[in-house]
Symmetry: C2
């Protein structure tokens, strides 16, 4: 038996087919262009296999509640052609098999819990810091979902007193994403995030904001572990800075495990979302 | 059959006995003094009845995970004599009956969901704004708990540019509780919160901060409803101000129900915690 996984990102799509041992048989990746062109490539790939189920982790925001009219759709997005496009419906019209539909960060959170940095936990929060800031929550080893999926980068944090940058979130300007995503690094410094040196003072500011977010996740949700991933987290020094700011900010008020165990980096870099999607597909075949 | 409920507050204890229809047979209230003196009064009350179970909603922070050594204890608290006092153990040594042990805000959230402002919902967040700011989360009609209970007032919010008050939280200074609890109102104005007039500009600031907290709860958890209670919410005008600031802050990014349905006041004022405790006791008898 084979299962399929799709990480449907705003920049690129990754599709894979895996066997029951979750070994990938084939994996391809291509740029996200128009929905029609992109789905054509998805079909060309999966038409070659008989997969029993497909798990999809999509860029968002998306409709995730089956009782809502836009379930399966990409909702408001600046990505041309994708707003209100019915991804799940289009896939289902081609393949009459079970499909698991959720966000890319939810499948990543699931992948990290089952096979990555949060193995052995029953709950975790996965946060990606890259072009945007987003996250997924796992509770009782299940994807946690409220009235919609989380949008964990879009709340407000305490500004650093010396920070005068106005923020780059098109919706909220200086929410967490507006102050601490990859583009904010470049906007503040004029240098692309990946080219900034480890001793650039911007990283302390970055850690200051991200740590505040982790405090909020801790006092509101209280996961067993927080897993950080995404392009910005490729900066090796950043994790330790975030831990230090976290301890300072929470100031012993809430008991958490040791910060080295509590705040960790992803263990399936760039693959947690796809692996999570394959795992979720696999579980559909057991139902 | 009778059940007991205790709302164990930092200022006063309320104990009640109710029948199967949840009609209260007797209810008493007394100031929270030393643990020994206070529990003596609790015993004197419940010794009169044969209750089948007791639900307890306690001031916190408390040990809520049965697998932890301090399960049933009040943890760090400035309240004299209560730090590390084993409330649940003391009650259990007197009465060998099932007991439900959680925070006062969790029982309040449960009371509001089952019989108050969030009836018919399967999830809600209850937030109390008074001496402190705290909250409880209900998901799938159950109290939601992570590695500890939520401490929903102790994260950071964006300061209003004109606000120079340093904040009154002993742990975090200018976290949400430090900037928007009852004592912060008095510290800023020199006037007790309940004596401030509705046109005092402080309320806009108060609403500005509370709305930010509701944005965080919404994008992280996404409950079906947010129920606001506590002394400060007795200000009738405040709810509408909070709704207005919330809409402005979230800026349409996340779809929520109409704000009048989504952000509401408690419907069991000052009793949600006790009623929730009785309901939880009742459910223990059905198990």
């Amino acid at each position: 038996m084979l299962v399929g996984g799709i990480e449907a990102g705003g920049t690129k799509f990754v599709c894979a087919v895996a066997n029951e041992q979750l070994e990938m048989i084939e994996k391809i990746s291509f740029p996200t262009v128009s929905p029609e062109e992109t789905l054509k490539q998805v079909f060309a790939f999966f038409d070659q296999y008989h997969v029993a189920a497909i798990g999809i982790g999509s860029f968002g925001p998306i409709g995730v509640r089956p009782d809502q009219p836009k379930y399966g759709y990409v909702l408001s997005t600046p990505k041309k052609g994708w707003e209100n496009f019915d991804v799940l419906g289009t896939l289902k019209s081609r393949y009459s098999i079970p499909m698991y539909w959720t966000t890319d960060v939810n499948t990543a959170a699931y992948g990290e819990l089952k096979m990555g940095a949060a193995q052995g936990c029953s709950s975790c929060i996965y946060v990606t810091v890259g072009t945007g800031i987003g996250g997924g929550i796992i509770v009782d080893r299940q994807i946690f979902q409220g009235i919609s999926h989380p949008e964990m980068g879009h709340f407000f944090v305490k500004r650093h007193p010396e920070d005068t940058y106005k923020g780059c979130c098109p919706y909220h300007q200086d929410c967490l994403e507006g102050l601490a995503s990859g583009p904010s690094l470049e906007a503040r410094t004029g240098i692309k995030g990946e080219q900034l040196t480890a001793d650039d003072p911007i990283w302390e500011l970055q850690a200051y904001y991200l740590a505040q977010a982790l405090v909020a996740y801790t006092v509101i949700v209280g996961p067993e572990k927080i897993v950080l991933g995404g392009g910005v987290m490729n900066q090796d020094h950043l994790l330790q800075k975030i831990r230090r700011h976290f301890l300072k900010a929470i100031n012993g008020y809430v008991q958490v495990p040791s910060v080295e165990e509590y705040i960790v980096r992803w263990e399936l870099p760039n693959e947690s979302g796809l692996i999570g999607a394959l795992l979720l597909a696999m579980e559909l075949t057991n139902q």
